[in-house]
Amino acid sequence: MPAAGTGGLIRRAAWRLRLVLLFAALAALPYLLSYSQQEIAVLLVINVLLVSSYRLLTLTGEWSLGHVVIMGVGAYTSALLAKQAGVPVPLSMLLGGAMAAGTAALLSFPLFRMKGFYFLIGSFAAGEIIRLIWKRFTDPFGGPKGLKRIDPFPDIETGFLSIDFYEPVNYYFLALAVVSVSLFVLYRIERSRIGLTFHAIHWQDRLAESVGVDTFRYRTLAFVIASFFAGIAGGLYAHYVGAVNPTRFSVDQMVYVLVWAIVGGTATFHGPVLGVVVLTVINEIVLRALGLDTARPLIYGLILILAVLYLPNGLESLGPRLRALWQRRRGEPAAAGREPA
């Protein structure tokens, strides 16, 4: 059918154009920012990966309170391998991700015997056990003070090219590349049969089981994949900041991840990304620029309340709502099914 085919081609071209424009904007972004804002951008990009990986886990219907600790597993592993075993940093980051995934695989045995609220509490307890291990064993984890002077990502020095990854603009591009590839993989997983199975487990786990889906295996798979990318985010963080400690991966930090996901919305791939970007920009750039350092928790809380009251489906629902409003104003029938569930 030529008409549908042409429409599909146009949609695909438009989608690619949007992607090109997005990458162009992301490439230009650091040059529009101040030095300290570039630092914030680096951490923001890392948090985008953290919250996006978290969403993959939520696809199966389970919300964890241990995801930041899993990020910490990646951070500690990568830091220790680089610092004490001399493993090259890029490889140690990957191994950090692998260790995070392995830890998740182990934890899945007790955790996926629980569901819903019990899983939430169980994941919190598991995370606390890991954090206590970091605190208890000064050797090798550094105890409460954690690890510092972690090897940075190695500089690139060739005859014509010199890249110092201490500079936030350079690390931004490194993190952006790693996170882009990771998001692409996460996106492809969600759109694959595996991703559809995750959705099926979320909405109808008994039905899925009745047609032969091994829900334990798929839940474990989602947990392991999400943890791998959280571990990669941890590695990116550790080798940038140069220090990790158990407090950095506490439940307080996990609350931020939950808030980003909830305010952004988890129905679409871009929802949590929107959440972390908007809230970070407001909290770290706008409110600081206004000199509201000490009032930030108050205003942040106010924003959260407003978001929950007026955007219960998250920021991701704002676009479809505005589009529907625009169409109503123009007297057009609103497109059905655009609003995220």
């Binding site: 300290s36 002077r149 201490y166 400690n245 950095r248 350092d293 000490t294 108050l298």
Partner: protein, 436 residues
């Protein structure tokens, strides 16, 4: 449009309007917070990189408030004379939320965008995020926590508070004045602030012949229910309850629990921030005799010869007038006293450049510490002589008011008992060469 929906719309509009107005008011209020002292003409900017919000804010925000007063007073007198030119001082604050990554961002902002000449920090968990920047930029930093010191960081000073070493003075005074108290228990949050302090108290108790009834009890910083912690501590009916260097958010509930569980013995603690509020939650009788290390600056003992802090009683009165007496905390005066040192050194050096100020500060191996002339010291404990150590006050709550009982010499204690300190610091992995 129905009347109901119209009303709803108007109500929302009103609501949004009110919100916007509140936001504008907050903006106007907040504009004064991060740049706290504006000045005309020649101005030197000083960075204040500490937690201003969150659970550790009690050791950041009151310090910034104290600096406000310091800057107003100094600027009113014409500023700091450096190389024959008077400079006003402007503080630029950055809330690091006690997070290493945010401290890194704050440090780069203060150095590269605000052009500060000196940065004061609380230190602790936040210092490792800043360490590399300090080394690369050659910026002069100060910390309140000398456990941050190491031979790698030559531009980091601990010029005011030699935490936790001064805690030995409180235990020494206690042992001399209440020799019948022979057993102690201790708790601390399990973090970088709690552990070195525990090692110090263990050394001080051992030196004083006070026996620990049990191993120190470390609780997680996320703890909110202190009833079981206190129950366990009081199980052996100890003579002394030591609260180590707990944050204000822990000292208050711990005292409440001790009160509710009927404890009547001696309490010793590094800090008792906002102690009036603890008295309100317990009783003046319960808090009578509570020993800690941070005086109210209206204490007449601070007017004695040898105390270098300028006009301490007036400083306290001004602080109480601006923020309320109950807002006075351990750090309210500390950052201001560091500024006294910095201003003296900059005047001597004739330059505000970090390297010149550092050299002038340490020129003769001594410095004018708030509580008297002190030595630059620390090689044996920190690997570098970048801590200013001298006398420290022992404070006791009497009749509901903090009262200085004595000034004791930290170096004198160290000379007699340094082996004990090194033993306990080593056992808890807190020596400079054992860290991370």
């Amino acid at each position: 449009m129905s009347r109901k929906s119209l009303e709803r719309k108007i109500s929302r509009r009103k609501f949004l309007g009110t919100t916007a107005a509140s936001g504008a008011a907050l903006t106007a209020l907040g504009t004064g917070l991060s740049r706290v002292s504006f000045a005309d003409g020649h101005t030197i900017k000083i960075g204040f990189l500490a937690p201003l919000t969150g659970p550790v804010a009690a050791w950041g925000k009151p310090g910034l408030d104290g600096c406000l007063i310091w800057a107003d007073w100094v600027n009113a007198k014409g500023g700091v004379n450096i190389g024959g030119q008077s400079y006003n001082i402007e503080f630029v604050g950055y809330d690091n939320e006690y997070d290493a990554a945010k401290a890194r961002t704050g440090a780069t902002k203060l150095i590269k965008e605000d052009g500060v000449k000196f940065i004061m920090m609380l230190g602790g968990d936040t210092w490792p995020g800043v360490q590399k920047i300090a080394e690369r930029e050659g910026m002069l930093f100060s910390t309140l926590l000398p456990s941050d010191l190491s031979p790698d960081s030559t531009t980091l000073l601990a010029p005011c508070e030699v935490h936790p070493i001064y805690n030995v003075t409180g235990v020494e005074w206690l042992a001399e004045n209440k020799p019948d108290l022979k057993t102690a228990v201790m708790c601390a949050q399990d973090d970088s602030l709690g552990k070195p302090s525990v090692a110090t108290y263990l050394a001080a108790f051992e030196a004083a012949g006070i026996e620990m009834q049990d191993e120190p009890l470390f609780f997680d910083p996320a703890t909110t229910d202190f009833a079981p912690v206190m129950t366990k501590l009081l199980a052996g009916n100890p003579d002394i309850l030591c609260l180590d260097t707990c944050y204000a958010d822990y000292v208050h509930p711990l005292c409440e629990q001790a009160f509710q569980q009927g404890y009547k013995g001696q309490i010793i603690s590094c800090t008792a921030d906002f102690y009036q509020k603890i008295i309100e939650k317990t009783s003046a009788e319960f808090m009578e005799g509570f020993i800690f290390q941070f005086p109210d600056f209206d204490d007449p003992a601070l007017n004695s010869e040898g105390v270098n802090f300028v006009n301490p009683n007036e400083f306290y009165a001004e602080y109480a007038k601006r923020y309320g007496a109950s807002e006075w905390s351990a750090v309210s005066w500390e950052y201001a006293s560091i500024m006294d040192l910095w201003a003296d050194a900059a005047s001597q050096a004739g330059s505000a450049e970090p390297a010149a100020v550092l050299e002038a500060m340490k020129a003769d191996g001594t410095g004018k510490h708030a509580f008297g002339t002190a030595d630059w010291w620390g090689t044996e404990l920190f690997g570098i002589d970048n801590a200013l150590v001298g006398n420290w006050p022992v404070v006791v709550i009497e009749g509901g008011k903090a009262t200085i009982k004595d000034f004791r010499s930290i170096p004198a204690w160290w000379d007699k008992h340094k082996d004990l300190m090194i033993k306990h610091m080593t056992a808890l992995g807190q020596m400079w060469n054992q860290r991370g």
